[in-house]
């Protein structure tokens, strides 16, 4: 494969995101001989710090350094990237909130194929990449052919490739700022205003040792009572998955997941939670995970240590009674 591979680097406060080294692993799976160039945008000293960190892992680090990118707006960056990237390149972007904002439109502007949320690559043949994706929140997988011969933008699911920590490159930093700014600062139709920080709830679940976490399987707001009872009996705090917050049954500060809180308990009990990767991505520190779900195929059973296949509406009240009996 003669096409150049690029990895878009997400960073914060002068440190590259965990996905940076995962992108190298993904690129090597795509093409074992690939020389992978990192592409990074930001401003000033923070950007320079990340670039210095990246040269040990990438053969080249293409940086775009501009005050207007101190907080990167995908609408601005996309138009800059089109000015610097070759049309037939393969661009890997992490499939998270920024990548999802940037990547689909980038593929159109580069006239490249778009492959979203890849979790694995299984080789390239006749210009066609065979990739693995998941559908229906991970209940089934698919093989997908993507014609990358005229270039491709591929978003890669965070955590699906093992980070390449070999630090085997001694790359160079290539300043692409002038090229990216040719014709002026683009993308003015969407103007970044501010980041509104999440409201802090009455309980900080990121500090909890034991979490009783409730999901869609609770079915009705009135049923939450049994979760409160169980948590009280166990001396646990209550967290939840996204549908419970969407329904406004619990506050956003209790949501575990990539768009919610990252928790590090000792014990995590997932009740009626299917276990989409966005949810599991918010559970760190290798807790002991207990999953109770009536669907034996729910992905949560892959993440859990111990599983019980049952309807939580039947199981929870019995469990609570037993705990209360035990405690006398």
């Amino acid at each position: 494969m003669a096409q150049q591979v690029f990895a878009y680097i997400i960073h914060k406060e002068g440190v590259a995101d965990d996905t940076a080294l995962e992108m190298i692993a993904a690129a090597r799976k795509l093409d074992p001989d690939a020389s992978v160039a990192a592409v990074i945008a930001g401003a000033g000293a923070e950007l320079d710090a990340v670039c210095r960190e990246l040269v040990s892992s990438f053969s080249e680090v293409w940086k775009i350094d501009n005050e207007a990118l101190a907080y990167v707006n995908a609408e601005v960056l996309r138009r800059m990237l089109v000015r610097i990237l070759p049309k037939d390149g393969i661009v890997l972007v992490p499939h998270e909130h920024f990548g999802m904002d940037l990547a689909p439109g980038l593929s159109i502007m580069l006239d490249a194929a778009y492959l979203p949320d890849a979790v694995d690559f299984e080789g390239v043949e006749d210009g066609k990449l065979k990739a693995v994706r998941e559908e229906y929140t991970g209940q089934v997988s698919t093989h997908v052919h993507c014609d990358i011969s005229q270039g491709a933008v591929i978003t890669v699911r965070p955590g699906s490739f093992k980070a390449d920590e070999s630090k085997s490159a001694s790359g160079k930093i290539v300043d692409k700022t002038a090229e990216a700014m040719e014709g002026g600062l683009p993308g003015g139709a969407r103007r970044f205003l501010e980041v509104v920080e999440a409201e802090v709830g009455d309980v900080d679940i990121t500090k909890s040792d034991v979490l009783v976490s409730v999901g869609r399987g609770i079915e009705d707001e009135d049923n939450l009572e049994m979760i409160f009872d169980l948590a009280e009996a166990m001396g646990a705090d209550i967290s939840c998955s996204r549908p419970i917050v969407d329904a406004k049954w619990l506050e956003k500060s209790r949501q575990v997941g990539t768009s919610g809180q990252t928790v590090k308990p000792k014990v995590y009990m997932a009740l009626g939670i299917s276990g989409a990767f966005q949810h599991v991505g918010g559970i760190k520190g290798a807790p002991f995970i207990i999953a109770i779900n009536k669907n034996p195929k729910a992905p949560i059973f892959q993440a859990a240590d111990v599983g019980i296949v049952d309807d939580i509406l039947d199981f929870i009240p019995e469990l609570t009674d037993r705990i209360n009996e035990m405690k006398g």
């Binding site: 609408e75 909130h97 920024f98 999802m100 689909p104 439109g105 980038l106 593929s107 502007m109 194929a113 778009y114 979203p116 949320d117 693995v132 994706r133 559908e135 229906y136 929140t137 209940q139 089934v140 997988s141 698919t142 093989h143 997908v144 052919h145 993507c146 005229q150 139709a189 969407r190 103007r191 970044f192 980041v195 040792d209 009996a233 166990m234 001396g235 646990a236 549908p243 969407d246 919610g260 809180q261 000792k266 014990v267 995970i289 207990i290 999953a291 195929k297 059973f301 892959q302 993440a303 859990a304 240590d305 111990v306 599983g307 019980i308 039947d314 199981f315 019995e318 469990l319 705990i323």
Partner: protein, 263 residues
């Protein structure tokens, strides 16, 4: 404000276990319960709320066949003013780019101020909004969980980012937004509402009506193609506790005590 919402009919995953069919060509569809894609339903609710405040109309559109009419009717029962079905043999096998090209042709038939899509659907791709915006050369924001209409030229939007934080932007109209769940509380649609729209004629626009070259969409225009469905090889996974409920609880309590799960 003229608003177009792009919707899709999808199996309701909270009601269904999804399984691969025998030869891996599709999922087992016989017993599936279909509805409007969850994210799209939030998008339609948001469009209705904006219309009720600002005036104008809400149109829902989908690419599909006669089976997909039901989700158009459902969203019209919810309060959308118009529904359009984009349907043609040549559309079959379209990838995200093809679907977006078809939608673009429909968008260009009228002067819309705002286009909403769901942030993602059952395939988890989350691509149509961003691709459509780039094809139209309109500004775009993804994962939108807040909209405030400032005037007929611009709106303020919030994007859902990591850690429960929200990224605020001002964005010029016309624009495309992909809507995240939780932005509102979609209204309930009752049987009576569905009955009222049951006999409405849903206009169907074909490739010819839209001036779409057949080779640019469908399988021939697709650069990505699903080859098969399969059940991933799973790791060991959880130790599943078995027995009577009482026995299961006995074992669970042992684990909880050992791991510090009961204080």
């Amino acid at each position: 404000m003229e608003i177009l919402v792009c919707i899709k009919r999808a199996p309701d995953t909270s009601e269904n276990e999804i399984e691969v069919n025998r030869d891996g060509t599709d999922i087992e569809r016989d017993d599936l319960v279909y509805s409007v894609n969850e994210w799209d339903n939030y998008a339609v609710e948001e469009a209705i709320q904006i219309r009720d405040k600002m005036g104008g109309s809400v149109t829902v559109v989908t690419v599909g066949d006669e089976d997909d009419e039901e989700v158009i009717r459902r969203e019209m029962a919810m309060g959308a003013d118009h529904g359009i079905l984009l349907s043609d043999e040549t559309f079959k096998g379209s990838d995200g780019r093809g679907i977006s090209a078809i939608l673009k042709a429909e968008v260009e038939k009228k002067n819309y101020d705002l286009i909403l899509t769901g942030a993602q659907a059952d395939d988890g791709a989350g691509q149509v909004g961003g691709i459509l915006a780039a094809m139209l050369d309109w500004p775009y924001a993804s994962l939108v969980n807040f909209i405030d209409v400032i005037d007929d030229k611009k709106i303020k939007v919030g994007r859902e980012i990591a850690g429960g934080n929200q990224e605020m932007h001002e964005i010029d109209l016309p624009c495309v937004l992909s809507i995240q769940t939780g932005i509102n509380e979609p209204r309930y649609v009752g049987i009576r509402g569905i009955r009222k729209v049951a006999s409405l004629e849903i206009p169907v626009h074909t490739a010819g009506d839209l001036g779409i070259a057949p080779e640019s969409v469908g399988e021939s225009g697709a650069r990505t193609k699903r080859l098969d469905y399969f059940v991933p090889e799973l790791g060991e996974g959880a130790e599943i506790l078995e027995g009577s409920t009482e026995e299961i609880i006995d074992k669970l309590l042992e684990f909880l005590k050992a791991k510090g799960g009961i204080k």
